[in-house]
């Protein structure tokens, strides 16, 4: 009997290899690691949004039991500030304001949670006890808690050397062409909105352990990072001045990141530095309260958008003015989020011929803001997709037909937008039609009527979105201000008996890379996924890498692996040719088998690898032994996933509560490796998008106190806040990477908020509503229905 092995290659919904470890509680997270002789760090954080530090009295704290050391910025004079990885230039060509981001506050605190001192003690409790005994003499200063406050005349300066609080004033696009188009437009639509500030809230709080081996001089940092090599580069080169060879960064299992674990944080430098100083390992783990006040936040834009249309509804021009909150300091990638990850996306899926956007980035006395799932692209998509609905409402065009009328034609790819990007592929008509069909769009009015009979207001909303991910071509981003390359690295190590270890610079913190990447190997090399081990997250093991964010792991990291496998196959063919006494040109390879074309002669990959490692009969004059190849892959372009999301909601008029009742996503993420994982990624992203639309709101009061500083007040989406999320894909292949993949990690969070909000506005259309700000909370909706203050 010939039993076929189950197909595990590209397109198979293979169950996730890593889940047994995670679901049985045997993941190894940073806080699970304990080093011999380990001490514990507690960070004393500012209770004030803005204050001058007139003195710090450590005497009482130093006398507390178990205290090994207490450090303030006075002890860190020899080390650098936290670097920013992206430089934006102002309209006039001058560089952005880049005030110092000290590891511990120097002279001033600038947000609630700003680290002031670190206590290192033999237990976490004792470290905290001593931290509470530190007496800081604060002179409280007026705070610039919001962008409006920060830009008011006479506003307090967050940084004394940036009196305007303006980080940069940047623009993109052709202003004159936009002005001209507006002058001849039949319709001009104006839309103003705030993109609500979010707290990422990965399930695992951040944690870091510094370790130092005096016998080798090697520093090791275990950290909750999405990109250990980037942390090694930033911390080693800019903060602690440690050579790469003496600094190992390990990011073991990481429980969610969503962007918040990209950045180099002060605590990483503190524990690494302190471990060296004390010759003892030092661990720090955030509790949830610290996470709220120290993890980089997301979004927080105030925007005004204007759309010009001709009489037939064709978009003529788009003008956007955005203020983006940077928080108190520039987090690692903060400056690029509201510029090159935002304004370049304002064409969306439309042929708008002229676009002009200006963005002002503002310092405030709040936690730094940086990339959060989608990063700039959700803000652009929300602005544009709400604007299109507002335009439809104002001009009388059907909202679906208005979109269709302005879609980039399917035969127009590659398509150059007026805001820098060139889209390689897409079919927005197909994803729209498929989503309309799957959501039962045509039958909606009957559902609205049925809901009305039950006393509910039902609405439906659509968003047709696009994103740029697979970040990114190094030369392009370099010219735009990135201070690093954004290629990826993959090593394929075929062992003597044919099993495979993959070393990747991408990092999995929930995405299922150990499965997806193994499937790439199974598909190309014919190795069962059980025999493929994926190694990531350790700079001592993986040659290099830029990490995981911007939906880049497969498009960039997977492509690097694919290139490395090409090299394996090329070398394997030479070995096979030698063993089978054939010419290399006659060797064919398919899924693990080398054949001499036109004959029945063949060798399995394992036979070739054995010959490579036991080179008794081997072309040793021409070929080195061994079968291991590394590829650095630098993408030629971004990838452009897109699609259509349709949300259906019901509102209970008595309470204003909005319930999501149905959600349909049809996404073009390029070639799908594991449909089950893609479905999960989209559903997770949609959950976060629904969270932004209906629930989540980071609130600071006028004094800069964080009002939503815990789960008691910050509304994370729960299972019962969601509805069935139907996920389907329509594939057009990426034309410039070898796998044809585009990326699926962020589409859910990008496409869904405007779909949900368009549905909420649609549900309330009888109330004369044109716009509702996110999140659409019950009191907000109630106040609209009842004409009351929320």
């Amino acid at each position: 009997m010939n039993v076929m092995a189950p197909f595990e290659g590209i397109g198979a919904s293979v169950k996730r290899k890593e889940d047994f470890r995670f679901l049985s509680g045997r993941g190894q997270y940073t806080d699970d690691i304990n080093r011999p002789g380990q001490l514990h760090a507690a960070i004393l954080r500012s209770p004030h949004a803005h204050a001058r530090i007139n003195g710090i009295d450590l005497a009482a704290a130093k006398a507390m039991p178990g205290v090994a050391a207490i450090y303030t910025s006075d002890d860190l004079k020899a080390i650098g500030g936290l670097p920013c990885g992206w430089q934006i230039h102002n309209k006039d060509g001058s560089p952005m304001a880049e005030p110092k981001h000290p590891v511990l506050a120097e002279g001033k605190v600038r947000h609630v949670g700003d680290p002031v001192a670190v206590v290192i003690a033999d237990t976490k409790q004792r470290a905290r006890d001593a931290a509470e005994a530190i007496a800081v003499d604060y002179e409280v200063l007026p705070a610039a808690a919001t962008m409006t406050q920060a830009q008011a005349p006479g506003a307090p300066a967050v940084h004394d050397d940036v009196p305007s609080n303006l980080c940069y004033d940047w623009h993109i696009g052709d202003k004159a062409a936009v002005d001209a188009a507006f002058a001849r437009a039949a319709h001009r639509v104006v839309f103003e909105t705030t993109n609500n500030r979010l707290v990422p809230n990965a399930m695992e709080p951040r944690s870091a352990i510094g370790d130092y081996d005096p016998t080798t001089g090697e520093h090791t940092l275990y950290t909750t990072s999405q990109n250990p090599h980037v942390i090694r580069l930033l911390m080693g080169a800019f903060v602690l001045q440690l050579p790469e060879a003496k600094l190992r960064v390990v990011a073991p299992d990481v429980g969610g990141g969503f962007g918040s674990k990209i950045y180099h944080y002060a605590e990483e430098a503190i524990v690494t530095w302190a471990a060296h100083k004390l010759h003892r390992p030092v661990k720090w783990t955030a509790d949830r309260t610290e996470a709220f006040m120290s993890d980089a936040h997301g979004r927080d834009h105030i925007s005004r958008a204007e759309l010009a249309l001709d009489a037939e509804g064709r978009f003529l021009a788009l003008r956007v003015h955005t203020q983006a909150n940077m928080g108190a300091y520039l987090s690692t990638f903060a400056p690029c989020v509201p510029t090159y990850l935002y304004a370049t996306l304002l064409a969306g899926v439309y042929t708008t011929p002229a676009i002009y956007a200006e963005v002002k980035a503002v310092f405030t006395n709040t936690v730094p803001v940086d990339a959060y799932r989608g990063a700039g692209r959700p803000e652009a998509t929300y602005l544009l997709e709400r604007l299109v609905d507002v335009a439809a409402q104002q001009t009388g065009f059907d909202r679906v037909e208005l979109r269709r009328k302005n879609f980039i034609p399917t035969d127009a790819f590659p398509y150059q937008t007026p805001v820098a990007l060139q889209y390689d592929s897409g079919n927005y008509f197909a994803t729209l039609d498929q989503a309309l069909e799957a959501s039962g769009w045509a039958g909606f009015e009957a559902r609205r009527a049925e809901a009305k009979a039950r006393g509910r207001l039902r609405g439906i909303g659509v968003s047709t979105y696009l994103e740029a991910c697979g970040i990114a071509p190094s030369a392009v981003v370099g010219s735009l201000g990135a201070r690093a390359g954004l290629y990826e690295v993959g090593t394929i190590r075929v062992h003597p008996t044919g099993s495979v270890t993959v070393l990747t610079g991408a990092h999995s913190h929930g995405q299922g890379h150990e499965t997806t990447f193994a499937q790439l190997v199974a598909d190309k090399l014919g190795v069962p996924i059980a025999n493929v081990d994926v190694v990531h997250g350790d700079t001592a093991k993986v040659p290099f890498g830029m990490g995981t964010y911007g939906s880049r792991s497969l498009a960039v990291g997977g492509s690097a692996m694919d290139k490395a496998m090409d090299k394996i196959i090329a070398k394997g063919k030479k070995i096979a040719a030698h063993l089978m006494e054939a010419s290399v040109e006659d060797i064919e390879f398919e899924r693990g088998v080398f054949r001499v074309a036109g004959t029945d002669k063949q060798k399995a990959l394992a036979e070739i690898s054995l010959a490579a490692y036991v080179p008794h009969n081997y072309p040793i004059e021409e070929l080195e032994p061994g079968l291991e190849e590394t590829a650095f892959y630098d993408p030629k372009n971004f990838t452009y996933p897109g699609g259509c999301h349709i949300a259906e909601v019901e509102i209970e008029p008595e309470t204003g509560k909005v319930s999501l009742v149905n959600f349909t996503a049809v996404d073009d993420v390029g070639r799908v490796i594991n449909p089950m994982i893609v479905e999960g990624q989209v559903q997770g992203g949609v959950a976060q998008g629904v969270g932004q639309a209906l629930l989540e709101q980071c609130v600071y009061d006028a004094d800069g106190q964080l009002m939503s500083g815990s789960m008691m007040d910050y509304t994370m989406p729960r299972a019962d806040d969601l509805a069935p999320v139907s996920v389907a894909t329509h594939t057009t292949l990426c034309t410039h990477n070898p796998l044809g993949v585009k990326g699926c990690g962020e589409v859910g969070a990008i496409g869904s908020p405007p779909a949900v909000m368009n549905a909420v506005v649609d549900a309330l259309k009888d109330y004369g509503v044109t716009h509702i700000e996110m999140p659409a909370t019950p009191p907000k909706i109630w106040s609209i229905i009842h004409g009351k203050a929320a």
Binding site: Q125, L695, D713, P778
Partner: protein
């Protein structure tokens, strides 16, 4: 969490002695309010007096026209009790909708009532049914028990031992949850029975309170319509990032209406 001493008495008398001997000691039952407060270092008791070993504070029993529930009874036990289900099904419903499974498996009725969190569920039932609170030294009527936010008539060395609920003819409970914490944003517990017609409102104000205008209306006409037109004043109600006092005042009417509808 700061260090503290830990005591586990096996009788009410011993527990009271321990609390009386140390004014900074705190009684702990299910710990679902106190433990998070300790972990956040918001509370610094010298000692915890763990009541969980006191057998006389456990159990659900029917005594005549009342259901007596020991203070240590966990929410899940009230939720699944046949006695409660047959006598006061609304009480089982309320218990079933406290927090989540983990909370219901730990939290106790005595802890909830003694803590008197304005956003807790049980105080609404206690006041809305006109229960009697049995303590280590006396009996207290519900109307005399809840004094203000996190404040009750219990003295420092006094422990709630049991709650005795008169069995009503009808009762109903409805609430809107705070979307973040899932505590009560505004709730209403209504009943008609030996203690008269009662409407207790929780979540909306700093302390559970009776809504006398609604009670009068329901006494005349027990129907959802009877309360639908009665407006709660927003004066003194809670206002925060989740909703204004005016919104909560509006919800009082909505929840009262729903509670009456649920009571039938």
């Amino acid at each position: 969490m700061y260090d503290f001493a830990y005591h586990k008495p096996s009788s009410v008398a011993d527990a009271v002695k321990m609390l009386a001997a140390d004014p900074d000691a705190k009684a702990i039952s299910g710990g679902h309010t106190l433990l998070p407060a300790l972990k956040h270092r918001l509370n610094r008791p010298t000692a915890l007096v763990d009541l969980s070993g006191i057998a006389e504070m456990r159990g659900i029993s029917r005594a005549g026209n009342a259901i007596r529930i020991g203070a240590l009874t966990r929410h899940v036990e009230v939720e699944t009790s046949a006695e409660v289900a047959s006598a006061i099904p609304t009480l089982a419903y309320l218990a079933k909708h406290i927090g989540d499974t983990q909370v219901r498996n730990r939290g106790t009725i005595g802890g909830s009532v003694s803590n008197n969190d304005p956003a807790a569920d049980y105080p609404a039932a206690v006041l809305g049914l006109g229960a009697t609170l049995h303590t280590s030294k006396r009996r207290i009527a519900a109307d005399e028990f809840f004094l203000g936010m996190f404040t009750t008539a219990l003295e420092a060395d006094e422990i709630l031992v049991a709650v005795e609920f008169p069995i009503p003819e009808k009762a109903g409970y409805a609430k809107m949850r705070n979307p973040a914490s899932r505590y009560v944003m505004t709730g209403a517990f209504v009943s008609k029975g030996p203690m008269g017609v009662r409407v207790a409102v929780n979540g909306a104000g700093p302390c559970v309170f009776r809504q006398s205008a609604m009670e009068a209306a329901l006494s005349a006409n027990w129907s959802p319509e009877a309360v639908a037109g009665i407006r709660q004043s927003a004066d003194g109600l809670n206002s925060d990032i989740h909703g204004s006092a005016e919104y909560r005042a509006h919800l009082v009417t909505v929840m009262a209406k729903r509670a009456v509808a649920a009571a039938g």
